[in-house]
C-alpha cells in the first residue's frame, strides 16, 4: 500500500506532499522523539501528535514513509517549511493513534 492509497482510504488530509508513491511497510506510534528515532523502521507510517520541526528531522533520520498527525494535532509553520524542504509527507486525521493504527493494519492485511 502506498502513502497515497493510505491517505485516500483513511481520508487523511495532506498537509505536505513528499513521495506519495512510497510504500507504507509498517507503523510506529509515539511522541518521544528519542524512542521514535531508534525504534521506528524505514518505511513506517509514524503516528504522533508532535508536529514541530524536530519531528520532521526525526522523519528524515528514521526514514519513515510519512508522519500522520493524530487527533488534529497542530502542525506549525516552521515544521511546514522544513517538511517542504526535506520532502517529508505529513498527513492529518481527527482519529486517535490507536484507531488509525488499527485501520492501517486492516488495510495492509487486505492488500
Amino acid at each position: 500500500m502506498t502513502v497515497r492509497e493510505l491517505a485516500k482510504t483513511l481520508s487523511l488530509t495532506v498537509l505536505n506532499e513528499g513521495d506519495l508513491d512510497r510504500a507504507v511497510t509498517g507503523g510506529y506510534c509515539g511522541d518521544l522523539l528519542s524512542w521514535v528515532m531508534s525504534r521506528a523502521t524505514a518505511g513506517d507510517a509514524w503516528l504522533s501528535v508532535i508536529g514541530n520541526v524536530n519531528a520532521i528531522a526525526v522523519c528524515v533520520l528514521a526514514d519513515v514513509s510519512c508522519l500522520i498527525l493524530c487527533e488534529n494535532a497542530p502542525f506549525d509553520e516552521a515544521a511546514k517549511a522544513r517538511a517542504a524542504t526535506e520532502g517529508v509527507t505529513v498527513l492529518r486525521s481527527q482519529r486517535t493513534a490507536y484507531d488509525l493504527a488499527a485501520a492501517i493494519e486492516e488495510q495492509r492485511k487486505g492488500m
Binding site: D31, L32, L33, S34, W35, M37, S38, S48, I50, N52, V53, N54, A55, A57, V58, V60, L61, D63, A78, E86
Partner: protein, 138 residues
Amino acid sequence: MKLQYTIPADDFTRAGEASAAVKATLKRLGFPSETIRRVAIAMYEGEINMVIHASGGEATVDIFPEKILMELADNGPGIPDIDKAMTEGFSTAPETARHLGFGAGMGLPNIKKYTDELTIHTELGKGTRLCMVVNVAQ
C-alpha cells in the same frame, strides 16, 4: 574529510541541521545506509543535548573510508554523574523541552547503542566533550 559546525544555543528549530548536513554528505559519498543512520542518530541526540543541557557548542566530524569520528564539545554545566546520565529514562530536561518531544532520557543510551566507541569527558562548570566512533559496515 573534516566537517565543522556550530550548534546554536537554545534553538530547537535549528538543532538537527548539523546532523542533517552530515547525513547528506555521507549519502553523497556513498556510505552504507545503516552506517549513515547510526551516525545521524548519534549526532542528532548529541546536538539536541547541547541545545537542551548546555548552551550550544561545536561539532567536528572526521570522515574516513572505514570509520566516522564525531566530536561534540560544549561549555555547559558538565554531567555530575555519568552512570546516572547513561541510564535509560534518566533526564533533567525542563518541561519546555518535554513539550517538544524531548526529554525521554534515551539520548545518551541511543548514542551508546548506535556508536562503536563512546568516550565522555566532562568537568563540572566547564563543559562536556563527547567522542564517538562509528565503524563503517563492510
